[in-house]
Amino acid sequence: MSQPIIISASPHVHSDRTSKKLMYDVVIALIPAFLVSLYVFGIGAFIVTAVAVISCLLFEYLIQKFLLKTEVTIGDGSALITGILLAFNLPSGLPIWMIIVGSLVAIGIAKLSFGGLGFNIFNPALVGRVFLLVSFPVQMTMWPTAVVNNTSIADAVTGATPLGLIKEGLMFGDTMTNISADLPSNIDLFIGLTGGSIGEISALALLLGGIYLIVRKVITWHIPVTMLVTMAVMTGIFWLINPEQYASPLIHILSGGALLGAFFMATDLVTSPMTKKGMLIFAIGIAVITVVIRLFGAYPEGVSFAILIMNAFVPLINTYFKPRRFGSKIKSKIV
């Protein structure tokens, strides 16, 4: 034998899953949504995404190399995902310097100041997005409308998102019947021919990506399904009570960041609970907060706030919702 025998404790085999593969699976799952946004928003979507990704990777590299002086881990794919998700939560016409600021907040504050991958409490991309939303509310709500095959940003006409339309309309005392005339049809919402953040517009593409993730076992069905069902039930109840005051559950789920949040943001491995029971609680919490913000809050959209709020509860959820220990008392009495 040329090299010495290796000794290690059992097990001596390992599954071929690695963190890196998980991360790149998420990237693959995001591609359909990206393609739709390219189609809908044109080159603007590409610029925003590219700037966000490059600046996230760059900030991670710079901070790890020169500030923290630790191993540089930009290859593990997590900064890449943060960049893409951040971009997906931004309107396509956002000034470039704002994207860079958002990336710095996402990587520098939300991720690395907590200790890097695995130690962050809040979803970095969402922290970046909410930081920008709170700091630059005007620019962050200038949604270029869906102009198919838009090739230059200058052509873009800004308008409101469906949820924004509803919120505004209801605030001025309009009824849903009148508002829905201005809304895109459900089919358009489903395919993505509507205004909004880069990644959130196409329900179809997000569903495809989400199903891919579930099939590849990167995420489980627990968070997305529970979250969407709870949202549907809650908005459904209000809709049934007064369809003129509240939008239908279908609109709620297909528009805004509900699907992007359910499949890609809430399921972020690091910031979601680690037990299935915990995941259900987490998802229900997100759904309830989202619906409350959407229906009664000042903002038309609440998914990112809801996810961040529930992120803060994850350690608590992990502490109190443990898996059932094999052979713990409750069951053995029945036997």
């Binding site: 097990p11 001596h12 390992h14 599954s15 963190s19 991958l117 491995l269 680690m274 220990r325 094999f326």
Partner: protein, 442 residues
């Protein structure tokens, strides 16, 4: 519907390369090194001396207490020395070295006993003989069988479970034994049922061994009270607690034994050893060992004398292939890596696994990404990531409160961890400290 346990478990690639290879009798080794600590509990006490002549099956080390076991000479020959030899624990341990007498015919006799069905001994004599003949659990844990069978009066046992699961990848020793000695195993089961006065026995076999399931279904057709249960292929189906849960839907209480829910579990190998001890007066001096590995020339199953150095076994399958980086005593999930090829086969050696370069190295441990995969696969409902953290930080009391002691060390958590974290290493370490703390408290 196949029976299985409800929570956790993994599906490692099975790699049962040797499942069609019949059990061959290995050439008798020139020298055997018999360790005196082959079982869990107190090591046996040596009763022979240097230069003593020993007969095959003669007691060479006597049980050192209740949780201990006799050790018998696997070959006839001369004790050349009492030496310290590295065994599967990785440390030098006391061994009795016997040089095989090349002229003694008893060594080379093909001992294929005819099937003997009627049981002549009384229950008490059966239990006594199991103890005297050095029978220990051959599934890998090597717990002395007589201790397991010594049921206190107040415990009611109503079912005997035979563990023919062999959920470890690569290993096929139990599978081959079940195929070749089905009738004998059924007699062995009847012996135990008779000795313990139990009228129900279930043989649990994983569904990837359909031939064995059919064979046993056939041979127990006319037996009263013996059933065969086909189990879902899932690791660790063969874990004692998982097996009881799968077959009987009874959950062994935390920190309890199958005995607490009225069950005794024995491995098929143990049952066959008991059959031979009771019916043919043969002590435990050999066992079936699977010698396997993807790059081996001729991997196979062997009847091997206890104490045979592993290098003899490897020579039998065509020598160590180029680029071998790891040797494992047992299966890949729970086996122990061994330091060199002089390590002897013991009563607990169910297989020798030869792993090459590309599979031998562990991935570099990265940050935990809190994916929760370890929690999902843990069959005991534990949180491995948390336990590792606690024992790494020295918070042993907290770890104990998180039920670290109920870990069965199946390795599922380390297997799935996408960040290659050494979860089980730390959990095992934490367990050893918690155990120390507990004993010092008492």
């Amino acid at each position: 519907m196949l029976k299985t346990f409800p929570k956790g478990g993994i599906h490692p690639p099975e790699n049962k390369i040797t499942s069609s290879k019949g059990i061959k009798r290995m050439t008798v080794p020139k020298v055997v090194n018999v360790p005196i600590a082959q079982h869990i509990g107190i090591p046996a006490e040596i009763v022979v001396d240097k230069k003593d002549k020993v007969e095959i099956g003669q007691v060479i080390a006597k049980s050192g207490g209740f949780v201990s076991s006799n050790i018998h000479a696997p070959v006839a020959g001369v004790v050349t020395k009492l030496d310290m030899i590295i065994d599967t624990s990785g440390y030098k341990k006391q061994c009795i070295v016997i040089r095989t007498d090349a002229k003694d015919e008893a060594n080379f006799e093909e001992k294929e006993y005819p099937l003997k069905k009627n049981i002549e001994l009384e229950p008490k004599e059966i239990l006594k003989r199991i103890s005297e003949y050095g029978i220990v659990g051959l599934g890998g844990a090597t717990f002395p069988s007589h201790v397991k069978l010594n049921v206190r009066e107040d415990k009611k046992i109503d079912c005997l479970i035979i563990n023919g699961v062999e959920c470890e990848p690569y290993l096929t020793a139990d599978h081959r034994l079940m195929l070749e000695k089905a009738e004998e195993i059924v007699v062995g089961i009847k012996i135990l049922m008779f000795a313990l006065k139990i009228d129900k026995a279930v043989i649990g076999i994983e569904n990837n061994k359909k031939d064995a399931i059919n064979l046993f279904k056939n041979s127990v057709k006319n037996e009263v009270g013996i059933e065969v249960a086909a189990l879902k292929v899932k690791y660790p189906q063969g874990g004692e607690k998982q097996l009881v849960r799968s077959i009987l839907k009874r959950e062994v209480p935390k920190n309890g034994l199958p005995l607490d829910v009225g069950v005794i579990v024995h491995n098929v190998g143990t049952i066959f050893a008991i059959y031979e001890a009771i019916q043919h007066n043969k002590p435990l001096i050999e066992r079936v060992v699977t010698v396997t590995g993807k790059n081996l020339e001729n991997p196979s199953n062997f009847w091997v004398k206890i104490g045979t150095p592993i290098k003899d076994l490897i020579a039998e399958v065509g020598g160590l292939p180029e680029g071998t980086r790891k040797l494992v005593n047992g299966g890949p999930m729970m086996g122990k890596a061994i330091k060199n090829t002089d390590v002897p086969v013991t009563k607990g050696t169910s297989g020798i696994l030869v792993i090459s370069e590309d599979e031998a190295s562990r991935g570099e441990a990265k940050n935990c990404i809190r994916c929760g995969e370890c929690v999902f696969v843990c069959p005991m409902g534990l949180e491995p990531h948390l336990l590792m953290n606690l024992s790494e930080k020295g918070l042993y009391e907290k770890a104990s409160n998180e039920d670290i002691m109920t870990c069965i060390e199946c390795g599922s958590c380390s297997y799935v961890c996408p960040s290659h974290r050494p979860l089980l290493d730390y959990i095992r370490f934490g367990k050893s400290i918690v155990k120390k703390l507990e004993t010092s408290k008492n």
